[in-house]
């Protein structure tokens, strides 16, 4: 199976928050407008740099997410480029109205880091596993929402949202994830990456499910099912063209996410496919349940989103064509 832009074998395991900070350190050194804001959250490499070199460009507002987001909006109003850092569950869950009203409404240049996003936050349990952030944020006008799948794409997307003028949120998963991409992989905001070519079915994955989706595509290739794998790293604006093309050319789509399929990537893809080119859409993701304390492999199995479940969803969908 030919894989585009992918390391063979996959590269080092790295936490996405670390990858984000490696890129942010470079950005913050060059761009004097960048201000890092925290809600009682680990500083990371870029934060430690600013604390030492530019203490007036780093603030922690404590455990107060509403104030975190609106303060960032005020800093953007004052001409700066703030990045906020707190758990996704609290950024989107507790400060939804601040994101909507203070940031998106005025297209203010605020970047919201959705730290420990999605279901795949081991140990912490259902109170902290954020399954509805995609549904909530993609419904807000003016928002850009990105959801990278590995450390390399995390860095590229960090740079991309820093360069984009306007509100943006970046999903950053908790676990270390394998490096999937080569450094030279082409990345553009809103343009899905075709990781593998295929015409029997399409897997559309987002976020850290990328490596599981790739594993599923490989398993299926051995069985003779040629799968196109699209990495939908930008949830909004979503790549409608790639989705419609996949529906027309492969006739079977499986979406993969560690978020609720209700309004999540699965919902977004189904909306586009049903309007443009009806095809079967099977949504692998969190099916209307809260999370729980567990290890990463246990979570993937219990919520039926691991590679074997993705592969099985593809087999079933292809059969129905």
């Amino acid at each position: 199976m030919k894989r585009n832009y992918v390391l063979e074998p996959l590269g080092e395991m790295k936490a996405m928050y670390q990858a984000y900070h490696e890129e942010m350190l470079e950005l913050a050194k060059k761009n004097g407008k960048i201000v890092l804001l925290y809600g009682d959250f680990p500083r990371g490499a870029a934060g430690e740099f600013l604390q030492k070199e530019h203490p007036d460009r780093i603030y922690d507002v404590g455990i107060a997410e509403a104030n975190l987001i609106t303060t960032a909006a005020g800093l953007a109003g004052g001409g700066y480029l703030p990045f906020t850092h707190c758990h996704s569950i609290f950024a989107v869950g507790r400060a939804y109205n601040q994101i909507r009203q203070n940031v998106a409404f005025d297209k203010l240049n605020v970047k919201i880091m959705l730290c420990n996003s999605g279901m795949l936050w081991p140990f912490m349990g259902g109170s902290h596993q954020m399954i509805e952030e995609i549904a909530a944020l993609r419904a807000i006008p003016n928002m850009v929402l990105v959801s990278p799948g590995d450390p390399v794409s995390t860095k590229k997307m960090t740079r991309a949202i820093a360069e984009h003028v306007g509100p943006a949120a970046l999903r950053i998963s908790n676990p270390a994830v394998p490096t999937v991409y080569r450094d030279d992989f082409p990345f553009a905001l809103g343009k899905a990456v075709t990781v593998t070519d295929g015409s029997d079915a399409t897997i559309i994955s987002t976020g850290m499910m990328l490596s599981d989706a790739l594993e599923a595509a490989e398993t299926l290739a051995k069985e003779g099912i040629k799968v196109r794998l699209l990495d939908m790293h930008t949830i909004k604006p979503i790549d409608e063209e790639a989705i419609t093309k996949a529906a027309k050319e492969t006739g079977a789509i499986v979406t993969v996410e560690d978020s609720s399929i209700i309004g999540g990537l699965g919902g977004a893809v189904a909306e586009i496919v049903s309007e443009n080119s009806p095809a079967l859409v099977n949504r692998v993701g969190i099916k209307d349940r809260f999370g729980q304390s567990a290890t990463l492999p246990e979570l993937k199995e219990e919520y039926e989103i691991s590679a074997r479940y993705i592969a099985q969803a593809v087999r079933e969908t292809v059969k129905k064509k």
Partner: protein
């Protein structure tokens, strides 16, 4: 030191104009927030026509002082002050609350001179805090190492609005970062949407609350220009902490037959219009 009588007279005249123009806007939109618009009118007049540094011909000037009206439903006297100052033509008043109109029912940043899009209460002080922080980044330091901010940020908050927890998140953070270019003004008109403050959510004692957060706290008559100007000037002198001016005001101040009534959100009838124009001559 008392202020020049001519200045006080000028501000009183301006405040009358703001209230009259607000009445016209509410008539045009057939709805509006007369009570809170009128209670804050004298404070806005003092800020916009004397104390704040701003240039209507250059609304994006980086060094301008900012006015964030957190109780953004009370937009009519804000729009009136901007129109009177020359940020835009008073012709725009006719668009108030109209489909496609520039002057929306809550302040929006698309309007020249408006710094903050409100409507969701309790958030303006956080926004003002962020703007105040921005004024200090890369600012030169004074002899004691404190940044000398490029501008001041004034934030009008409501007493009903102070029910919102986020107000107190901002209060906590502004003190932590010693943001002394942030001046909050509480329009303490004793009413909230559906009743009196005392009935709905009694937050007494107000002064003690702000003092407990160690803000520079002063309590004034919010319709006494001498007191308003003195409080604003004193705030500039106190360094190292944010400032709160607790301004006792009267809902609907300016039209005696409206005062002390909770005319929160309503249209203005022909009879009310005649009373208002007589009182605001």
């Amino acid at each position: 030191m008392a202020h020049d009588a001519k200045l006080i007279q000028k501000l009183a005249e301006k405040a009358k104009i703001l209230r009259r123009d607000a009445v016209e806007m509410i008539r045009a939109g057939e709805l509006g927030w007369i009570g809170g618009s009128f209670s804050q009118a004298d404070i806005i007049a003092a800020l916009m026509f004397h104390h704040m540094k701003h240039d209507p011909k250059n609304p994006d000037l980086e060094s301008r002082d900012r006015l964030i009206v957190s109780k953004a439903h009370c937009c009519e006297t804000v729009y009136a002050a901007l129109g009177e100052a020359g940020y835009f033509s008073k012709e725009l008043y006719k668009s108030y609350g109209q489909m496609g109109g520039t002057l929306q029912a809550h302040t929006e940043r698309i309007v020249p001179g408006v710094e903050y899009s409100g409507g969701s209460l309790g958030q303006g002080l956080s926004f003002a805090f962020g703007e105040a922080l921005a004024a200090r980044i890369d600012a030169p330091k004074d002899s004691s190492g404190r940044p000398t901010p490029r501008y001041r940020v004034y934030c009008i908050i409501g007493d009903g609005e102070s029910n919102e927890g986020q107000i107190w998140e901002a209060v906590m953070a502004a003190l932590h970062y010693k943001v002394d270019n942030l001046i909050a003004i509480l329009d303490h008109n004793k009413f909230q949407s559906s009743g009196t403050i005392e009935e709905r959510m009694n937050m007494m004692p107000w002064v003690d609350k702000w003092k407990a957060f160690a803000w520079d706290t002063v309590e004034i008559d919010g319709h006494d220009f001498e007191a308003i100007l003195t409080a604003l000037e004193n705030a500039d002198k106190v360094k190292g902490k944010p400032h709160i001016i607790i301004a006792h005001t009267t809902k609907c101040k300016g039209v005696p037959s409206f005062e002390h009534k909770n005319l929160h959100f309503c249209n203005i009838s022909d009879e009310m219009y005649a009373e208002a124009m007589e009182a605001l001559k």
